[in-house]
Symmetry: C2
Subunit: 332 residues, 2 copies
């Protein structure tokens, strides 16, 4: 039987090219080979958007549209909504007993937040314990592989520690450890060149951006401020246009010679931007078209079916977990 | 409509006279006046007994037997098992976002544990967050009154803070703040006089103790080590026999004169112990008899019915909570 993969996104905005290159493209490839579960993590999104639930709710459907538009196939993958799987919450509560507060505080992401935030506006318990909630997600579907970025490795570690402790304490082997699948593409830089592309920084190109918005974003990209005249030598490093060409331009050989030419001088930003614009329009044209053809009703249908299927599996796991713990079972 | 009361016990052992005088007796009185929910908190018990689930499981039935034996009436009260109400876990996860880690660390019970325990065997996340889990219990049944000991007041405070924050953030009034009902009887001392009566210290008199065990425990009670001969003056303070007579002997006037006589000298420990033994046998005789008449099957039936009834109410609350948060709702 093929291995199970769990992956997903927090529905806090439309998905952008950073998601595409960092994970979505990979998922389309994975779905033929693995038993894929894709979770729209609305509850996790609430942990730092608890005061903006409308945003989270609205983006559940948008994120699913992005999935379908890029070619994720609901016949091959189980796409589901986290908040429709109540078994995840029960698992979370049981797992909270299997990890110490100090262990959770050593999580680098939490550590950074704890150091940054002042006492009064301190981190929430939900944020401290999100690795426990993720352990519930991973184990509920008995995922063996979890595609993550480098920064999420410590969370997988916590999950595996919980698995080992559970199996040891309750003398069982029902829970499986998961392996991180590290992507081979780094984070995509924002169009301003300042940071990772993200919705909140307003520096990302969304897969749902109309053609003219895409073009406008490409032409506003940060290049080399010292590359004033076309004949000036230019910097390739830190140049956003090259970063995007590296990620999306297929002809790598030509890219090498374009970089050489840019470094020497004689290659204008406008030429490069036009090349990138064409590349991205070609990539996004069919995605946009597919996206527009999908009705909200279809999306809801897919999510309902996927959540139903995912829930059955989580229910089975919870049953095994309750039995392993030895909780009382009374037919109600 | 009468107010709703939530109360309960962790099923980690049979209930003893400390429970009787501190809460059970009061519950029997409350059940005629209030809408009472009595929770057998097996999940909470697991938070520090996660490696001994058999004990927790076995005591679910024993604790319920103790309830019925003392006169708690399942026709008047809803007796239920925490782990059979999965809605409590979902509420817990939502509430984790509404309280900060530092707030939970200020909980005196947690604070004491954090100071006591070494880094490596640090407190678990489940222990840190148990006030959040209790907020879920309290709010799920919209309890307005929660009988607690002085030491549990900070937990009610955390729960009310979560309620206020939830109602403010989600612009609603569905969650109710709860009021602590402080009992007027202090903690019952153990028969060794060293600490509070508790199962783990093996210094408690259980309501299920057979007559001979009860007698043996009374006669082994700590009195005044300097009261050697009957004619010696004796200390009333710290004398366990007097502590129990204070709690259980009805004729308070006679008790005053007994204390005076003991202080002066001329009243022997054996006389006092015999008086206490008679008092406690009279109290426990009918309780024991009732306890023995209740079959395990009856208890399971009562727990199944109570849990079913409790769950319906928790489901309704969760529905309101999900709607207030604005989580997506798809018929599956």
């Amino acid at each position: 039987m093929s291995k199970t993969v769990l992956t997903g996104d927090r529905p806090t905005g439309h998905l952008h090219l950073g998601h595409y290159i960092g994970s979505l493209k990979n998922r389309v490839a994975l779905q033929d080979e693995y038993n894929c579960f894709i979770m729209i993590a609305d509850v996790q999104a609430l942990s730092d958007n608890f005061d903006n639930p409308e945003k989270v709710r609205a983006n559940v459907v948008e994120v699913c549209k992005d999935y379908l538009a890029v070619g994720i196939n609901p016949e091959k993958c189980t796409i589901f909504i986290q908040s429709l799987i109540p078994e995840l919450f029960e698992l979370t509560v049981y797992y909270l007993n299997l990890v110490s507060v100090s262990r959770l505080e050593r999580n680098p992401t939490v550590k950074a937040e704890l150091q940054q935030k002042s006492f009064s506006e301190s981190v929430t318990a939900g944020f401290l314990t999100y690795p426990v909630s993720q352990a519930a997600d991973i184990t509920a579907f008995k995922a063996q592989l979890v595609p993550v970025g480098e920064d999420q490795l410590p969370v997988i570690e916590v999950s595996n520690e919980i698995v080992r402790r559970f199996n040891r304490v309750y003398k069982t082997d029902i829970l499986l450890e998961a392996e991180a699948m590290l992507g081979n593409v780094g984070r995509l830089v924002g169009i301003d060149g300042k940071a990772k592309a993200s919705k909140s920084l307003n520096n990302a190109i969304f897969m749902s951006d109309p053609s003219d918005v895409l073009k406008q974003k490409v032409y506003s990209m940060y290049t080399d401020p010292n590359h004033v005249k076309m004949s000036d030598p230019g910097m390739v490093e830190g140049n956003v246009v090259f970063a995007y060409l590296d990620a999306f331009y297929e002809d790598k050989e030509e890219l090498v010679s374009l970089k050489a030419q840019y470094r020497k001088g004689g290659l204008g930003d406008t030429t490069l931007k036009s090349l990138l614009n064409g590349t991205l329009q070609n990539l996004l044209d069919p995605i946009r078209e597919k996206r527009e053809s999908i009705s909200g009703a279809t999306v809801l249908d897919i999510l309902a079916n996927g959540s139903k299927k995912a829930r059955k599996i989580a229910q089975q796991t919870l049953l095994e977990v309750r039995e392993a713990i030895g909780l009382i079972d009374i037919a109600q």
